[in-house]
């Protein structure tokens, strides 16, 4: 077990290292520099700026220096968007905003999606199943910007009667401003979870031990939630692990639509602005988070199904 985790963590470190290098090289390959703006600075200023931030050195030396700093926990400072502010402090400010919305979104997605999937599997082939299937297929077919903008049109100004929620996210307005972003962020995961749960539940409802449970005279609720669901959770966990990281770091699109000052929107803006250290910092942060979640997922497998033997590759 410990050997397995040592291997996993080693693998994770290699991945993070590769993502870091890849991002760094990609960023440097892009023509244009962060100093481009309407009033183009003079050659001397450019040279001075490049020297100050170490951009005049060859790429591999920059990369080495960056990796060295990274080990010390130094992500560098923003070059453009919030000049000279440490990237770590930017992430520390943006992440909680995204995380709050993301956590709410995923919570409702799981709390609704999993039971809906169970219901669909239990009522297989009946009317309820068909309706749920239509909704969920529709849900995974609508990009989040479609969901978000349709919600905006419907509930935030399109019709005077239904203008319930604010268009722009503002924590001062309380729960109202959370409703639309959380709904649109959680809609896709909800539908996906429901679909996954349904097919996994169908598998596990066909198993012998369910027959045994029925023969024992257990109630349906108990059969589904205690016996069948536990085994059906594996694919759901597999999906949700990386999804947690993604959602907590903010939907890129949803944050743009609702002008939420979160990490996702900031990442997209930093790409457009070529603010290298911010791009690097956010990417590494998110990548680490996702990779960490993958390790957590492995641990959760064991909790959901103690029969799983991780050391044997699980095949």
């Amino acid at each position: 077990m410990s050997k397995y985790f040592a291997k996993r963590i080693g693998m994770a470190l290699v991945t993070i290292f590769l993502v870091t290098c890849l991002t760094f090289l990609l960023m440097n390959a892009v023509p244009g520099s962060p100093w481009l703006s309407e009033k183009s600075p003079s050659e001397a200023t450019l040279a001075a700026l490049n020297a100050k931030y170490g951009l005049d050195k060859p790429v591999h030396i920059q990369l080495m220096k960056y990796l060295g700093n990274l080990l010390k926990g130094d992500f560098g400072v923003s070059l453009k968007m919030q000049k000279n502010r440490a990237v770590t402090s930017i992430i520390a400010e943006m992440f909680p905003v995204s995380a709050r919305i993301g956590a709410l979104a995923l919570t409702w997605a799981v709390l609704v999606g999993v039971p809906l999937g169970c219901l669909a599997a239990f009522k297989r082939g009946k009317f309820t199943d068909s309706v749920l299937r239509v909704i969920c297929t529709l849900g995974i077919s609508m990009p989040s910007f479609v969901v978000a903008s349709v919600l905006l049109v419907a509930f935030a100004g399109g019709l005077a009667v239904l203008k319930i929620f604010p268009t722009i996210f503002d924590p001062a307005l309380g729960w109202r401003s959370y409703v639309l972003p959380c709904f649109s962020l959680g809609f896709y995961p909800m539908c996906y979870t429901a679909r996954q749960t349904r097919s996994a539940m169908l598998d596990s409802l066909n198993q012998e031990y369910i027959k045994t449970a029925r023969a024992k005279g257990l109630k349906n609720v108990k059969i589904i939630f205690k016996h069948a669901l536990r085994n059906a959770l594996i694919p759901v966990i597999t999906y949700l692990g990386p999804q947690v990281a993604f959602t907590l770091c903010g939907g890129f699109v949803v944050e743009s639509v609702f002008s939420i000052p979160g990490l996702g929107r900031y990442f997209v803006q930093s790409i457009q602005n070529r603010d290298y250290p911010v791009i690097m910092g956010t990417t590494i942060f998110l990548a680490t988070f996702i990779i960490l979640m993958n390790v957590v997922v492995d641990l959760l497998y064991k909790v959901a199904d103690p029969r799983i033997n991780l050391t044997k590759g699980g095949e």
């Binding site: 479609v146 903008s149 349709v150 049109v153 990442f267 790409i271």
Partner: protein
């Protein structure tokens, strides 16, 4: 034959009564079959091929067939549609800016204008008339009429007109309702209506136009074309890379497989969305610079034809999304390579490549088709996501995602501009998803639940 056979034996026994059977047969029964009977026999045993069987199952699936119909319709819409419409996607139709997807007839508009004029008589004096009047007055007084005075009058007139239209009795919508003016399908500009009245044939703006007077229908068609092209090409790319990689990994096995699978795991744990976003952003300017760098080479021409943004998207997709496909193929190949026919082929001296191409891949064709088909909607999804964020397909080529972004600014007044591309995009992804699901059920009966 044997109808008058008597049941003399113990009724419980399961043994066939051969002796009786033979006794009942006459010499006639051994004559050779007539041509008709032979034909009948062959008819009955008509072999059902894998694809025919799958097609039969697919045809029974109403949802999948409807989805297929929608896909074919969208395909025609995207690839044949633009030829039928006399507008280009980058054509600014003067005088047809901001058209709604509906219009009012010319007579109705005249009635409306008359009504508005009647209600707000004093305010709607012609600006030019006012200026002329003021000019005359000024000249009569012997003063100079300056540009400034003219501007003041214009501004006053504008304010007056605004307040006039703000007052409830002059609101065009209210008046239209009172007069019973109805909306008619499709957008026409006033000029186009006049030409139409004059007997010219004018193609309507079915979905209206945007702020520059570009026809939304044509733009949506081109957008759908881009989406479909990206979806299908990306899926094919994934198919080629994934199938090759998976088949080699599975067939070779052993150490080669172990190393190749480590690499797959590595790519699996890379945050896809993030890297795709990065690659698409970074490669686009690189490729653009490459195309613009002068000189001629076939590679450059190729990049130029497809456009740097499409290629960067393909690369992003090709780099990351083949892993699922490769895993599926590898699993299948691992199973199949134990079969006797593979051993036989190897004994006959077939090379590894030949065995993979001729024996292994054709045998997992079902899985390959299904996975490829389900890859299309996810590629379309990704393309629209990137375009929406402004790093995907870029102007002048329209994309459904970027059309939706453009529409955000006026989404309450011009909701249709947001709705039209969104609906087409969603329907397209939905149709591909449903068809893929149906295909999976049809090709892989084991999976059918």
């Amino acid at each position: 034959m044997g109808e008058d056979k008597k049941m003399k034996r113990c009724p419980v026994t399961l043994q066939p009564d051969i002796e009786n059977l033979l006794q009942d047969l006459s010499a006639d029964d051994f004559s050779s079959a007539s041509a008709e009977e032979r034909a009948d026999f062959i008819q009955e045993r008509k072999s059902v091929s894998y694809w025919k069987d799958a097609w039969r199952r697919l045809r029974k699936n109403v949802v999948a067939m409807v989805a297929l119909g929608v896909i074919i319709f969208l395909f025609l819409f995207a690839f044949v549609g633009p030829m039928l419409i006399p507008y280009g996607y980058e054509q600014f139709n003067k005088g047809a800016e901001n058209l709604y997807p509906y219009h009012y007839t010319l007579e109705d508009q005249q009635r409306l204008d008359a009504e508005v004029a009647a209600r707000t008589q004093s305010e709607t004096l012609d600006v030019d008339q006012l200026i002329a009047q003021a000019k005359a007055e000024a000249e009569a007084k012997g003063e100079k009429f300056t540009k400034k005075d003219e501007a003041v009058i214009k501004a006053q007139a504008k304010v007056a007109a605004q307040t006039a239209s703000d007052t409830p009795e002059a609101d065009p919508n209210v008046i239209r309702q009172e007069l019973g003016i109805k909306k008619h399908l499709f957008g026409y500009s006033v000029d186009e209506l006049r030409r139409k009245a004059a007997g010219e044939s004018v193609f309507p703006h079915v979905f209206g136009t945007d702020m520059y007077g570009r026809d939304i229908m044509v733009r949506v068609m081109y957008g759908a074309r881009v989406s479909m092209a990206v979806g299908i090409c990306a899926a094919l790319l994934v198919l080629v890379i994934g199938a090759t990689y998976g088949a080699i990994s599975g067939y070779c096995g052993g150490r080669v497989d172990a190393v190749m699978q480590r690499f797959v795991e590595l790519i699996y744990s890379v945050p896809e969305m993030l890297v795709v976003l990065l690659i698409a952003t970074a490669l686009k300017p690189i490729l653009t610079e490459y195309v613009n760098s002068g000189g001629n080479s076939p590679m450059k021409a190729f990049v130029n034809i497809l456009g740097p943004n499409l290629i960067s998207m393909f690369i992003a997709f090709g780099v990351l999304y083949w892993v699922t496909m490769s895993r599926i193929i590898r699993g299948q190949v691992l199973q199949l390579k134990q079969q006797e026919y593979v051993t036989a082929a190897r004994a006959l001296g077939a090379s590894g490549g030949r065995i993979i191409r001729q024996h292994l891949l054709p045998n997992c064709i079902g899985q390959i088709v299904v996975t490829t088909c389900l890859q299309i909607p996810s590629a379309i999804f990704l393309e629209s996501f990137l375009s929406y964020l402004g790093v995907g397909v870029s102007a002048p080529l329209p994309s459904l995602g970027s059309m939706a972004t453009d529409a955000l600014s006026g989404m309450y007044t011009y909701t249709y501009r947001l709705i039209v591309p969104s609906v087409i995009l969603s329907v397209m992804i939905l149709a591909f998803n449903l068809f893929g699901d149906g295909l999976r059920d049809a090709l892989d009966p084991k999976l059918k639940k």
